[in-house]
Symmetry: C2
């Protein structure tokens, strides 16, 4: 687990308290020794919640739990453990969810279905429920306003750095805060691979409005990031709104008064998603793929993902090799409309190939120089329409093999 910190690491920003959110972390010894592995947040009555989950057909028991709880739109607590994902654990997994949510509900004084759960770590091992439950009272006793940084660290598994982001926004004359943490560095691919992210705000937002804002923000952020094309069974993004700060009442349909708030939520989502790409297992370079000229935005997204998931493209970028032929290949294999003789490929602002041919007098030097940096931008123009999308990934290096050939050992 002790991998070198990613060279693309960003430091945690200052994360002030979010009114209404009480946080604590602690050690239950679920898998890791000598580190905190449990994170909890406690919210006041009236807190609303929105969530987005993995589309993997074999989700973990906590994902099933949250999906069942979400329609009520109410939350009083979040409880997360690292080290064991409680995935593919059958009836024991369901029982573990009921037991931990039940214990937490008693401590908080709410219904079990108002406790949201997430687990991350090894698949297929039973969650040691007794240990976990036994640790909860001590952790609840420590809850306070200032735990965001500790929480960002306590949810990590193979992450090499803690991930957090925060923004403020105006709702009418009031200022609210939106803060979030995330974990994830491998098995990252839409939809939501081994990635957990928890956001909270002190705004008072009806649950359906909150859900719509979250869902719209996931597309260009977490669902546009891929590390290895693998999709986790546990991916979860939850957004809690405590309503602890007074502001003009948000109508049931949301509307223009939430414009700044929505922008801020989306900015936090994007910042967290990019941190996940920056911590991609073995990543040495952050890669952005800008696709333009596709027949639709959806087609552009798929083509971008095909490039972002191509091992041949990712290894070439790791070697700063301006091998644009592999980009052509990856565009062509996407199964989306593409015409070879209209296709243009560029790197770092230099077009290498235009309309199906190498640009006359093409000079590889500036491209190679760009590729030797930490952030690489690939441009793909299909020349067919106005669809565009940007997706994010990282390069594929020896460290990915090291990390994933030894995760459980």
């Amino acid at each position: 687990m002790a991998h070198e910190v990613s060279p693309l690491m960003l430091p945690l920003p200052a994360m002030p308290p979010v009114p209404g959110v009480a946080i604590a972390t602690g050690a239950a010894g679920i898998r890791y020794k000598a580190r905190e592995d449990v994170t909890m947040m406690v919210f006041p009555a009236g807190t609303t919640v929105a969530g987005v989950f993995t589309r993997n057909q074999c989700p973990g028991a906590p994902v099933d739990w949250c999906r069942a709880a979400l329609p009520a739109g109410r939350a009083r607590a979040l409880l997360v453990n690292a080290g064991n994902s409680n995935v593919f654990t059958g009836r024991a997994g369901r029982e573990a969810c009921a037991a931990t949510a039940g214990a937490m509900a008693k401590l908080v004084g709410c219904k079990p279905k108002e406790v949201f759960l997430a687990s991350t770590g090894v698949i297929g091992e039973k969650l040691p429920t007794e240990k976990y439950v036994a640790a909860l009272p001590g952790i609840v006793a420590k809850t306070g306003a200032d735990g965001w940084h500790a929480a960002a660290r306590a949810i990590m598994t193979t992450d090499t750095f803690a991930k957090g982001a925060t923004r403020t926004a105006k709702i009418g004359d009031a200022t609210v805060t939106i803060s979030g943490i995330a974990k994830g560095s491998g098995m990252i691919m839409p939809d939501m691979a081994t990635m957990l992210s928890f956001l909270a705000t002190d705004a008072k937002i009806p649950a359906p409005v909150l859900q719509a804002i979250l869902k719209r923000g996931i597309g260009p952020s977490f669902n546009s990031v891929t590390v290895d094309s693998d999709t986790s069974t546990s991916d979860t993004v939850l957004l809690f709104a405590t309503g602890a700060t007074k502001h003009a009442k948000v109508p049931a349909e949301g509307g223009p008064m939430l414009r700044d708030f929505t922008r801020a939520v989306h900015a936090v989502l994007m910042e967290l998603a990019l941190m996940v790409a920056r911590d991609g297992e073995g990543a040495q370079k952050l890669i952005r793929i800008d696709v333009t000229g596709a027949v639709s935005a959806k087609s552009a997204h798929r083509i971008g993902m095909s490039v972002a998931n191509s091992p041949l493209v990712k290894t070439a970028i790791a070697a700063a090799d301006a091998n644009w032929g592999r980009i052509v290949m990856a565009v062509g294999k996407a199964g989306e409309p593409a015409e070879r003789d209209k296709l243009s490929i560029g790197v770092g602002g230099t077009w290498m190939a235009r309309e199906g041919e190498l640009v006359p007098g093409y000079d590889e030097a500036p491209v190679t120089a760009h590729m030797q940096g930490r952030e690489v931008v690939i441009q793909v123009d299909l020349g067919l329409g106005r669809g565009k999308a940007s997706v994010f990934t990282c390069d594929l290096t020896h460290a990915y093999i090291d990390i994933n050939g030894s995760y459980r050992s």
Copy 2:
């Protein structure tokens, strides 16, 4: 290019002449120095041909050339170069095809459209047509019956061993031979990634029948092999039938008299496809994934491919890590019908998880022992229906990164 020979290498079998096929190889210096890089076969009048090509939307010029020539069903020559794929070369690429096929046609005394072309190597660089054409007369002069082994070597690029297979079959009382060669070790994924394969037989088979036999054989062989999920722009399989051996006339609709012949063609295809998996870039282990209990054969194939293309599964196998949770994840991400609580996962004949849970008393030792071998079998049973499929891949190792971070240098 000088990578260590795959530990999964199989030696070339003895490959006797195929009546009607004249082969030669030679060096045109297209990219490589001091090795043969041109392969040709010359066929008698009346030779029929079948072909299957990449579904990549940005195919190389030679693929376009062959697709246009194929409907006539007639072939007099095959001309292949290694080192330059003539892909994404625009008008120059089309002109290079016309020039090389034209030159070859003059030497053989046929129409240019009876010359089938293939190129493999770097994408996006113009084929040095003059050098190539200048080398042809000297190579044609050497054509003879015994060149199969030299041809298998001359079409290699990143391959670490030459690939060939041969079978005989009865058509009525006559015995015919089916021989084939293949190249490919990366960018291998359906449909037909950076993979070239050329088969020839002395049987006399109408072109439409030949095409049907080839097409049916591709599904379980080349289209069930993946190395890295990348799909080449050049993949081509061609099957030539010279008709040089007398046998009972094959009717236009084929039929039962071709049962043995079909089986032999399919056996050659399967053997060659497995050799490509065995030479997967950086491969240390050959992996077979047997999927059963899916809702259909197509669904089983897709689930198998999802497992076979998962970097997390492939790195775990490289490390002989019995991480069945990653297999669950890869099944779940396939987007095919799967129910977690009916799913069973096994390795090497040992069921690890049954119907959504770890098998009670599961002992990892025999699984780990199996995974330490050179050939690993993964079993996935969906418990939903009768659909089944087997797919083949290799593990993902440091050598893959080495090879693909330096291919052009």
